[in-house]
Amino acid sequence: MAETTPAFYLVNMFNPVYITSARAICAQDTFSNNNLPEEIKVFEQNILNYHEPDYKQYFTIMQLRRMTRIIKIGLVTAIEALKDAKLEHPQAIITGTAKGSMTDTEKFLHDIVDFNEGTLNPTAFIQSTYNALNGLIALHHNANGYNSTYVHRGFSLENSLMDAIMLFEENRIENALIGCFEEMTAEHYELKKKMGYWKNEAMKNINLLDSSTAGTIAGEGTFFLTLNKNAENAIATLSGLRMLYNADEALVKITFKNFLAEHNLSLDEVDAVFLSYNGNIETRHFEDAISQQLSPSTNQLAFKHLCGEFDTAAGFALWAATKVLQHQTIHPSLIFKKGTSSTLKNVVIYNQYNGKEHAFYLLEKQ
């Protein structure tokens, strides 16, 4: 752990990029109206599974039979994000996923044993590769160009965004499709249970933020957004992104301060902050460290009680932040601590995953 402040800070400033659409499929019905639903779904158990869309309007039955769960969800989310942005062929497709298609990885592991390493169906193996979805989106949209997949836990989405931001700066592209996706399976839940990752007691998701025990609850989610170099038709602006690896609370605190200073923002000017509270009392000191320094004007928001915890859950906050800025209203289910600010211009996201990968985002009203 970083005990001391390093002699220098990474100041990765970049020209703002513009978000032209954002789509989400997760445990809540965020897809049908592209917003949080009026009524939040309550889960009695510790796994918040996808609220899956109706696939029939997107694919034939034959296509559906061949596609695994996360590929269907990912494709649908990407298709709608591109449709919203009226973008037929994105010039870059960059995705982030920590686990890819767990269903297929597990299926192939089982097949190897069940069929004694005999003649196996390759479909699960192919779909288990982390860039499978990315390749299929490119195929579906006839999008040849830059294409990459980042597979680094709580830095997967962040590296995908940074890659796109650099492509803009290099004048290589004008637009990009960026996304992240994750699923939870029974076996993967068990695996993480052995690591002490989940709460031992059944916890209703809506009570998560009041929890006083260790561990969290599981979720899954897929989020896609389109980025553009130009501000036209933008719904929000992404003007800052910072990753911080293996930091302690003190460094998180300082980095947050510096992050705001680099963007010439005072604490009072931050209208809302998404905090990654996931109900785990062993890691909440990180979110507390940010929360405690915020101004009374800032609306403090939480999101993991709605979508559950997973490696790329920051995608939910990013999607929700664009909704806040686009519609100039905060869905009541997000509010952790209400602020006095009457404007919604600057929104910060702080996400930490497992206390190891920390990320800060700055979004602005377009």
Partner: protein, 403 residues
Amino acid sequence: MPGKRVFITGMGIISAIGTGVEETLVSLRNNASGIGSIEIVDTLLKSKLIAGEIKVPNDKLLELTGVKKNAYYTRTSLLGIAALQEAMQMSKLDPSRQKTGFINATTVGGMSDMEKCYFDLVDPTTKSNENGLADCLDCADCTEKIADHFNIKDWIATISTACSSSANAILYGARLIKSGQLDVAVCGGTDALTRFTLNGFNSLKNIDPSPCMPFDENRNGLNLGEAAAYVILESEEQLQRSDNKPLAELSGYRNFNEAFHPTAPSPNGEGALIAMQETIQMAGLQPADISYINVHGTATLNNDLSEGIALKRLFGENVPLFSSTKPFTGHTLAAAGAVEAVFSIRSLQEQIIYANLNFKSPIPELGLSPVTLLQTDKTVNHVLSNSFGFGGNNASLLFSKYV
């Protein structure tokens, strides 16, 4: 993108043909392949298949790397540490002295170790989670173990784009330097041989049970291998601080997805063509300037034909000297781009071109013959290295002699 130049100042490798760059070079010079019987991976396929397995068991890797077993280190992590150790010693950099990032690549992460105990770990009635093994399946585990071992923390990423993964890691690292995010980027990949991958490629029916024959008329598929390899990239300004002498320059790169098929390349080699063409353009060079191409050359029916067509489309009648080094190492998947980057840099330093082992007769549609004997009398100034993968992910890298 013009502007800042990026140099390689360190490299390290472990593969079936050796531990360390020098041992590797001896094998390459002597046409000594590392493909052979499978002894370490626990698989029924070992009676049928051969592979480029590193004959160093995990306990020896622990000794070699000096890793303290306070956490679970998978074979993937240990191979990575073994390779990076050499690169870090070569460049003599202290990661805490400048902005240093680690861009790693892997296709199956800790599968090598997880597949041995997976069913026990997911069984609710058992309790085993020795040293946090349960957390080692994903791709980020090895990256963080390796980064923590060398105390790199300013930028951490893992890329998984199948067989082009570490080529993409190298070009991402170079771009992070050019954009000013980093002074030093440690880039490469690690993939241990697994029963999972052996069965995966076997199910795709593209493994040759005999030594692979890239670019041969009778080629019959690939041999898998395992490896880890890393290069250390430094910016021009950073060189003045480190006082390192570059081993070579990374003068061009390009990632291009051809959006043709989930696993097969396009028959006209479009993706490969554009990746190579734009890589050469980026360096401000002409196709005629390329001295040697370390081709992707997996020896699958599709890849070699498609890559060969791309070579002919780009270079016409004057295809440069080329060879696939996969008959030495096997296809090391996510590590392949970095393994072949090390080979390319060594080719520039030693002014040698490696043999494409097992080649007998050209593919009739192409009429192209790779280099079949080690070349020691050629001038090598610019080496192009290709990595093409599943999902249409193509990447090319260009290494130029440091002058």
